[in-house]
């Protein structure tokens, strides 16, 4: 299975490298101006020249994204558990959460600066938490409640308490739903952190490095910062996949295909 997985990495690597080659060729061949689109080779050059700054910026932005991610996930799970226990709360809160989730939460970033301070990192973290919280809450709550009625009757036939049903049925049932949310919010947390940084916060972060280098017409450095941000997003996405694999061995045993789009059972 591991060999299959490694073999599966082959095509995307080939396509990725070919894409970079094409990019390089197009920029060189058509003489595209540097500020419109720098060549990958010059981006890589700036990346190594500015590595100490970019590494620091990536580390700090990564910390914001990760801490916001963790807080948002914990809050989402806790509220999902609470609403599952209290049906009326669930019925009142879930549609509201779905509605809020459909709004562009990131637009709140400047407001959060006013609430939590423009120079500190708290407002940036708050944006990440707000972005992460809703998909986690909505999906986890669905997974906790959308249990097959036969399975609930089965547990009742065992004279099980609500607590036992939660532990044995609802939580495992919710895990694929949660995993799907995690796949979405893990990379989203990096996006949220960077957008929040565009509006404020300390100046040594990815978002600010991008805006200030663009202001000084150092587009290739801005692109190098974007490359670092992409790596962060990919790293968090990889962690999400790893968590999914480790926590749900039964999905791995089944192969991935039939589960990726429809969590739970039909």
């Amino acid at each position: 299975m591991i060999r299959n997985r490694l073999a599966g990495l082959g095509p995307p690597i080939v396509v990725g490298v070919a894409g970079l080659g094409l990019w390089e060729g197009v920029v060189w061949g058509f003489g595209i101006r540097k500020f419109l689109l720098p060549k990958p080779s010059s981006i890589i050059g700036r990346l190594s020249e500015n590595w100490p700054i970019l590494r620091h910026a990536g580390w700090e932005t990564g910390r914001i994204a990760l801490s916001g991610l963790v807080v948002g996930i914990v809050a989402g799970i806790v509220l999902a558990l609470v609403t599952t226990r209290f049906r009326t709360l669930n019925e009142g809160l879930t549609p509201l959460a779905v509605a809020v989730n459909a709004t562009p939460i990131v637009a709140l970033a400047p407001i959060f600066n006013a609430w939590f301070g423009i120079t500190g990192t708290l407002s940036n973290q708050a944006v990440v938490v707000a972005i992460v919280f809703f998909p986690v809450f909505i999906n986890t709550a669905r997974g906790l409640t959308e249990v097959h009625p036969d399975e609930l009757e089965l547990m009742r036939s065992y004279a099980s308490s609500e607590w036992t049903i939660l532990r044995e049925v609802r939580i495992p049932n919710a895990m694929p739903f949660f995993a799907n949310a995690l796949r979405v919010v893990a990379p989203l947390s990096v996006i949220a952190a960077i957008v929040a940084e565009y509006f404020g916060g300390p100046q040594d972060r990815i978002g600010n490095v991008i805006t200030s280098n663009v202001a000084f017409v150092r587009y290739d450095v801005a692109w190098a910062a974007i490359a670092v941000a992409s790596a962060l997003g990919l790293a968090l996405f990889a962690v999400a996949l790893l968590v999914e694999r480790v926590s749900m061995p039964w999905r791995a045993a089944m192969g991935d295909g039939e589960y990726t789009t429809t969590p739970g059972r039909e």
């Binding site: 036969d150 089965l154 036939s157 065992y158 044995e168 495992p172 045993a253 059972r265």
Partner: protein, 264 residues
């Protein structure tokens, strides 16, 4: 309370009505005036058209629903007490195995909830896997099994704590005909080996005739017991399905079902 011999009656249903949404516009009388006694060790089928309340009746026996009037007694105690004592095992049409538990762990779930030790659980699940002829599948996940195999696991789970009563709600309804006939024979074998009382809901005339010692024919809306057909075909084999006596009994059940249509 002493109208029956306690040791011989597994289930006594006494004057039971079941009304859903009582008092509202969508009030439905699902069952009306049900009296039925099921002896210990019997295999009884409940048959009727969809909407006749046969699944409702099964759930009343299991105390998953409460009767609107009348009472249900299981092994001499109220159905509620029997549920709390976990006196019965239940099998649904949907095998209802938990994806996240391996097959053996699914079978062991009721034992785990009763606080059995790991060793005892493992011994029993191995025994149960032998009983349903899946000895090599304990380490698989349910989704790796076919529908028929999943349903066997579901039966093994229901029998794992050796209940004296097995409630089955169209357990073979989702299986193909070949698998279904095979599972019927397996179920009869298990019934003989364990001595469990079985209450079996189905809408298949041949299935009810083939399996049961008695077929309870229900009429629809409101569900009533229309007639009870005694089936005495001796030990069933695949040949029974082609036996004229079997056809005669199936015809009797069919006519009892038709009598409802004329009556309605």
């Amino acid at each position: 309370m002493s109208g029956y011999v306690e040791s011989e009656a597994a289930v006594v249903i006494d004057g039971v009505d079941k009304v859903f949404n009582a008092g509202s516009l969508d009030e439905v009388t699902a069952l009306s005036g049900i009296d039925l006694t099921i002896g210990a060790g019997e295999f009884v089928s409940l048959i009727g058209p969809s909407g006749c309340g046969k699944s409702t009746l099964l759930r009343l026996i299991g105390d998953l629903l409460t009767p609107s009037t009348g009472k249900v007694t299981v092994f001499g105690k109220p159905a509620h007490g029997a549920r709390l004592d976990q006196d019965y095992g239940m099998v649904f049409q949907h095998a209802g195995l938990f994806d996240w538990r391996r097959v053996a762990a699914n079978i062991e779930l009721p034992l785990e909830l009763r606080g059995w030790s790991r060793a005892d659980r493992a011994a029993r699940s191995a025994e149960m896997l032998d009983l349903v002829k899946l000895p090599d599948f304990g380490g698989h996940y349910p989704r790796q099994l076919s529908g028929g195999m999943q349903q066997r696991v579901s039966i093994a789970r229901a029998l794992s704590f050796q209940p004296k009563l097995l409630l089955m709600d169209e357990p073979f309804g989702a299986l193909d005909e070949m698998t279904r006939e095979h599972m019927q024979l397996e179920l009869l074998r298990i019934w003989r080996e364990t001595g469990t009382t079985v209450v079996f809901v189905t809408h298949s005339i041949p299935e009810s005739t083939f399996l049961s010692s008695r077929v309870v024919v229900l009429s629809p809306r409101p569900g009533r017991i229309n007639s009870i057909v005694d089936v005495d075909l001796g030990e069933r084999t695949d040949d029974t399905r082609e036996d004229p006596a079997f056809f005669a009994k199936a015809t009797e059940v069919r006519e009892a079902l038709r009598a409802d249509e004329v009556g309605a």
